[in-house]
């Protein structure tokens, strides 16, 4: 099971990136290229999801799944915040909670690739679920911060800019591009797909290889920062807590999602994806939003956790394990 997942080219390129940093090679993907590869992946997954949506029927399961996804995204930060508060500052706890409530598009995309390779069917509306899970977590995170900062006597410097925040969380670049591409895929349907299939479908896995190569490099660098920051200032950064939480939280969230998803009656592929969404943590959209909404939170807390630990954990161990668990649940 693990070996199968391990022998997929995209995952192996992730490890090549990690290796490059470990041996201190100068291998590097230029910054604008990395951003473009991520734009491409969002565009392609959105379009594919939209076309799949146009070809399928929308029933109550779909609606319930989307609602459950948003509820998960709002719920996860709540309990995560209270777990984290004991070791983290309030700002850091709120930002990290938002990070784990939200999702990692690349983990989701890798999971779809995994399912395709395994021949397991999944439904296009799961892409919509992913897009809808980005924002609630951000809002809950900020709410938690404003609520507990006051009660803990922090000096309130400036009120939260709620309209700006809503825009940031619901209309940030990634969310808009996925939702927009989905809408376009849905409008143009299989006809539109015929025109753009060579880009949207054929290139997908090859581009994912190059993108994960870069992700491996970036993740390994953050892991290095994490180790270094610990040895420098032993007191503030609770390294062991960070490491154990970044491995425990995805598992905990996955169990919750498997339960909820089973209850919703999701099929094998959709259940795996729903679980992956809950278990994954954002490292693009949420960190960017947190820099604006909670600048006093420390990105060197939540970025290494989600990017350097939770992300490879889900990629390597999580996805196949969640798949086995889902099969077991559905068989049971």
């Amino acid at each position: 099971m693990f070996l199968e997942n391990l022998s997929s080219p995209p995952l192996l390129f992730f490890f090549l990136g990690v290796l490059a940093v470990l041996v201190r090679s100068d291998l590097d993907v230029p910054g604008q290229i990395a951003r473009f590869l991520s734009l491409y992946l969002l565009f392609a997954i959105g379009f594919k999801g939209g076309v799949a949506l146009a070809e399928s029927e929308l029933d109550t399961t779909v609606l319930l799944t989307l609602l459950a996804a948003m509820a998960m995204s709002a719920l996860v930060p709540l309990y995560t915040f209270f777990i984290l508060r004991r070791r983290f500052s309030i700002a850091d706890a709120a930002a990290t909670a938002a990070t784990y409530g939200s999702v990692s598009a690349v983990t989701f995309i890798t999971a779809t690739g995994y399912l395709t390779t395994q021949g397991v069917h999944w439904n296009g509306y799961m892409v919509a679920a992913m897009a809808l899970m980005e924002s609630p977590a951000i809002i809950v995170g900020i709410l938690l911060y404003t609520r507990y900062r006051e009660s803990s006597g922090d000096q309130v410097r400036q009120g939260v800019d709620w309209p700006g925040l809503l825009r940031e969380s619901c209309l940030n670049g990634s969310v808009l591009l996925i939702l927009g591409s989905m809408a376009i895929g849905w409008i143009t349907g299989p006809e539109g797909m015929k025109e753009v299939a060579p880009v949207v479908k054929d290139l997908f896995l090859g581009v994912l290889c190059l993108f994960l190569l870069d992700m491996g490099i970036v993740a390994a660098r953050r892991l290095g920062d994490l180790r270094r920051s610990d040895t420098n200032s032993g007191e503030r950064s609770p390294l062991p807590a960070m490491v154990s939480l970044s491995l425990a939280l995805p598992v905990f969230n996955a169990v919750l999602a498997l339960t909820v998803g089973r209850f919703l009656g999701l099929g094998e592929g959709d259940l795996v994806l729903f679980t992956v969404l809950a278990a994954s943590a954002s490292y693009i959209a949420v960190p960017a939003a947190m820099r604006l909404a909670l600048p006093e939170s420390n990105p060197s807390t939540y970025l290494p956790m989600s990017l350097a630990l939770t992300f490879p954990f889900n990629l390597l161990i999580g996805i196949p394990v969640y798949h086995h668990a889902a099969k077991w649940l559905l068989a049971g």
Binding site: G31, A34, S174, V218, P287, R291, P295
Partner: protein, 98 residues
Amino acid sequence: MKPCKRIEIVIEEPMAPRLVSMLKGLKVSGYTAIPNASGDGDRGTRRGDELAGDSSNTLFIIACEDDRLVKKIVEKVRPLIQRSGGICLVSDAHWLTH
């Protein structure tokens, strides 16, 4: 050539639009912004390799001949870099009038 102050601000990329609207609010006559700067400071390393710009800095250069305006800019920059990091340097220069 007229004497002026040269203000130089390093701020993280997601905050750059805020700095710009602050400058516009003060009716500053102009600025230049250089993206994709990396750096190191109290808040750790910013490598300029991040996928959403949240690990890059932007360098702003503002020439300003009005000393009172310089003071106002600096006062408004202070809370921005206090919360999210960065530096602000002010030096003397001569500005080519045309």
